[in-house]
């Protein structure tokens, strides 16, 4: 299969959603369990794809470097966020390449960003808390033309749920659950 993407199944799924939108609703969740200091153990919650439950038996650790009060045992929340965006763009790029009948030989997405920690620490008025810019570079090899790869880059980013969540502000709803004892 080209790029190990089953194009026929993808096409069937896309056409199924035109008839039955419920099949396209994917529900996600994670649970971040504090371990010590800045370190947390994250578990993926069961997903739902359409009307069915999908088990996600995955856990991973998040920490901060020593300079930021952690023990540098694992990637930090910013790195997970950037990797989530980069991997999401990558999926769109590979899917798009398969649709365009391009065989990929190499693909690397590098994502970088800069924070002014004065914002998080609140030590200087006007210091920004968020990333003000996120930069990515897609390094690609394969039998596509320059124009095709450029078209793919644009489509992969504009169809990426994670990139578009970051680019367009998302509403964050929260609540507090205080345990007694």
């Amino acid at each position: 299969m080209r790029n190990a993407i089953p194009l026929s199944a993808l096409s069937e799924f896309a056409n199924e959603l035109k008839e039955n939108p419920e099949e396209g609703i994917a529900k996600y969740g994670v649970e971040v369990n504090w371990q010590s200091g800045t370190r947390a153990l994250v578990s993926a919650l069961p997903m739902e794809v359409g009307p069915h439950r999908v088990n996600r038996d995955f856990t991973w650790v998040i920490d901060e470097p020593r300079q930021l009060l952690g023990a540098n045992q694992a990637p930090n929340p910013q790195e997970y966020m950037l990797s989530g965006m980069g991997a999401c763009i990558m999926v769109g790029f590979v899917v798009g390449a398969s649709i365009m009948e391009i065989q990929l030989e190499h693909l690397r997405v590098r994502v970088t960003g800069q924070l002014d920690l004065a914002g998080f620490l609140g030590v200087r008025d006007g210091a920004p808390i968020p990333f003000e810019e996120i930069n990515y570079v897609i390094e690609v090899g394969g039998d596509g033309t320059h124009e095709q790869f450029e078209e793919l880059r644009q489509k992969a980013v504009s169809h990426s749920p994670n990139a578009m969540t970051i680019a367009n502000t998302v509403k964050i709803n929260g609540s507090l659950n205080i345990l007694k004892d």
Binding site: R2, S11, E16, L45, R53, D57, I99, E101, K155
Partner: protein, 439 residues
Amino acid sequence: MDKPVQKDNNIRGDEKGKSSLDETKVNWVSDLKRSRQAGPFHGTSKSWTEKSFSTIAVHAGTKDDMATGVVGTPIYQGSTFLLGEDQYKSFEEGHARDRFIYSRYGNPSQWAVQEKLAALEGAESALVFSSGMAAISSTILAMVDRGAHIVASDELYGGTYNFLNGELSSLGMSVSYASPRDFDAIEAAIKPETQILYFESSTNPLLKIVDIEKLVSIAKKYKLRLILDATFTTPLGYRALDLGVDVVVHSASKYLNGHSDLIAGAAIGSRKVIDMIWPRMLNFGGSLDPHACFLLERGLKTLALRMAAHEKAATALAIWLEKHPSVVNVFYPGLESHPDHKLAKSLLNNMGGMVTFEIKGGDEAALKLLNAVTLAKQATSLGGVETLISLPYNTSQSGYTSKMREKMGINSGCVRLSVGVEDPDDLIRDFEMAFSKIS
């Protein structure tokens, strides 16, 4: 001068299974053309929805060979197929299930019997396997992910229990067992990581009929897949997919083939779900040989006839056994005394050929009875044209202690009969003779 290369673009397989791409430019996924179709079927796939079981059993899927005019599907006893551009494309795009490439992937003999099975169950798609356990293991493993949990019947067929109990834990999965009659216990066993409910349409050997509509509603409530082993009831008993079951599995060695002369299995359901199982069949290797497909297809043609004969003989024998002074208890869903008779009457179009009974004198007397009968053959398995007689305590339920068997309701002296299609009067006379010999 070199000859121009002749491209072979012939479609060898299901012509309805098309490429996602055509001449028009595809901008994004929404422009892809391929939609999911029932099948894959070979040639003249008709709609069988308006036809009765006996007609479907004879005709669906069976493909006459137009080159010779021979009536009936030939045996395509080949391992591999000539490849052309269209097949290479099917590989590249991922619809190799719609083409003939290699017999482990698909073969016209398999497709013929698969279409017949799909039509009998009222389904879009079916797969045949080299055994019922190949069908069951491939189907279960297609529907679970790492860390998954399964809720299954606590009266499963021993082979399925061995698979769940012996294999899944080493794959990091777990199983809880609940009574097929206790829906509160089934719901209570469901965990956040549960993905499947696995039950049998009728239990072995006490022939408890599962209330399938209740199971379907639990599966839907918790967003689970429901797999049903319908070996004992067959599609003639009821069509489980119509009632909301996701996949029906069968040991086709039993009633579907009906002649005790092959080992085969089947998984039947929507094209979407069967397409999920197909790659597991390829990976685990449980494909069915073309010659066995031919035997299964031939057996299936008489399914409706045989099931009517099984039911007739089993009913006559069950009624006779119930009146016999040496018999303590008879379990047959067609009898008013059966605990699930009301449910069976509303659910089943055919009560089947399985009759279980308990005789005075316990297992010792039962063993004598087995040796005294002359028509029924002392053998395990079921669903064949010949009557088979066996004792659960030293065959299907031999892994349990006598106390555990009693707890399940399988008392000493329990005899399992798979009533064949012989004349019921002959069977009754044979049992009459056998009982008089041992008393």
